[in-house]
Amino acid sequence: MIRLLACGALATVQDRGRLGALRWGVGTAGAMDTLALAGGNLLVGNPDDAAGIEIQVPPFEIRFEVATTFAVTGADCALMLDGVPILPWTGARARAGAVLRLARRASPQAWGARSYLCVSGGIDVPVVLGSRATQLRGAIGGHQGRSLQAGDELPLGSPDLSPPVAGTGLVPPVVALPLAVDGLPALRVLPAAEYECYRPVSRAAFWGEPWRVTPQSDRYGFRLSGPTLTPLEPLELRSHGIVPGTIQVPHGGQPIVQMCDAQPSGGYPKIGTVIEADLWRLAQAPIGARIRFIETDWDGALAARDALDGWLSAARRALSYLRARSTA
């Protein structure tokens, strides 16, 4: 069990998402940066579907009630285990009673917006409709269907694998798989159904101009500000399914990228979709950040997926080698 001693707003239990419940109107929820969650699970010897804690706002402080292995991945942050600094993206051993504190890192190089705590065995909240992910609307899954708060006690599952050697780290994907245009983080986009319905000048601006992540951005959606996107004529659509990454353009002409807690259906026109393989990059763009969009096609989007799979496979191989080597 772990006990939360301090907890900023909007920390939630998340796994890779609730896949397969759209037919009941239930969205995916799940980690915004699924790659960071997957990396953290690898570092502590967890299966892919184990749940961790998504931390959006420091401070965050917990006490391990049992000795275990853990890792904090995702955004760069300042980590102290019993007052001793440790590194993110690195497996570490905690004794029973140890206190882990996560704070913002005061450095211009600090990267990211969301951190993930993975603990050996996973956060063992009940599986609801196939997932442990917290879906706030409808209060489904996670810890009592809500954000975490100080005083909460979270059960841990039993680990399948002995965790890899403590002190083993991964090169974060932001370093291993960089993507930028004119020095700004970039996201690849597949044009969607209404792309051709926008004025040529709007389409050119969509690809050519930077977009700012506004303060009205959260797990539901990222509202961007930039040039106004104008359709050739007003568009009225029937309600239809959408997915995380879908870029809707409401009547004001400022796009909203739907994220993990978005409604699973909508009616606004869609200019494109941030590809699945780049959603983690957007998830880690803080409020106020500027980003760029890059047009891609089906083959390009699949190649980007393959690159992520490649990074995960290499990490998995390296960690299983170290595990085998250390227990031999």
Partner: protein
């Protein structure tokens, strides 16, 4: 590969051809041609049932005269599956779902219907007339979406159609009965909405512990009963 994905040449004439587009590598959107109607929806249900059996498909989820198809693993070649969808659509008979009818008592107006006055102002009808017109039809459930347990309904009388609110309301309660444009629906849980809330009901539409978790499914029908009109 962009925008509406071009369909193979054997597809129907352009005005009768469905539109297939990408939602990244997560899903495809299949949109039926023509005016929104129940017969087309019944063919969408049929297509959903068919596509749900394909191994690469995680879920085939009806929308309003359209279908979302999500992947277990995105196919390497898109043309094969878009061609298959188009062919399956051509062959799809309307699927008559033997749905249940659920009756929903609604208190119209008052505290539970804070925007009744806006619908009155827009339509020129009285709250009693609005309640009567709203409670008259049997509403078919076209699809589920928006939030857990929420139903997209067909069949509202256009006389009470009222535009969505200019400024969405940050939180309307679960059970809120509302009108947005030519559509009506009932919120299954509290949340933001741009629709006009004209009444309220106590029905529980979603319970994750129940199997299935949603009270209603496509093909079911909803009838509103006037439990009261607060003037």
């Amino acid at each position: 590969m962009n925008r509406p994905i071009p369909l193979p040449p054997h597809a129907e004439a352009p005005d009768l051809a469905p539109c297939i587009s990408l939602l990244g590598t997560t899903a495809l959107l299949f949109e039926a041609p023509g005016e929104t109607c129940l017969e087309t929806q019944a063919r969408i249900w049929s297509l959903a049932r068919e596509a749900d059996t394909w191994p690469e498909v995680r879920e085939a989820v009806p929308g309003v005269n359209n279908l979302l198809v999500t992947w277990r693993e995105p196919p390497r070649r898109l043309e094969a599956i878009t061609g298959r969808l188009a062919a399956a659509w051509k062959a799809a008979p309307p699927l008559a779902l033997a749905g249940r009818t659920v009756e929903l008592p609604v208190v119209y107006g008052g505290e539970g219907g804070p925007h009744m006055a806006d619908v009155v102002a827009h339509t020129g009808l009285s709250p009693d007339e609005i309640a009567e017109i709203h409670a008259a039809p049997l509403y078919p459930v076209y699809a589920l979406g928006s939030h857990p347990g929420y139903c997209y309904l067909g069949g509202m009388d256009p006389r009470i159609a009222t535009p969505r609110r200019k400024v969405p309301v940050l939180r309307i309660p679960g059970g809120a009965v509302s009108i947005g444009g030519a559509q009506t629906g009932v919120s299954a849980s509290p949340g933001p909405s741009g629709w006009n809330t004209i009444g309220s009901t106590d029905m529980i539409f979603f319970d994750a512990a129940r199997t299935p978790p949603a009270l209603l499914q496509p093909g079911d029908s909803l009838r509103f009963r006037i439990a009261g009109v607060v003037r």
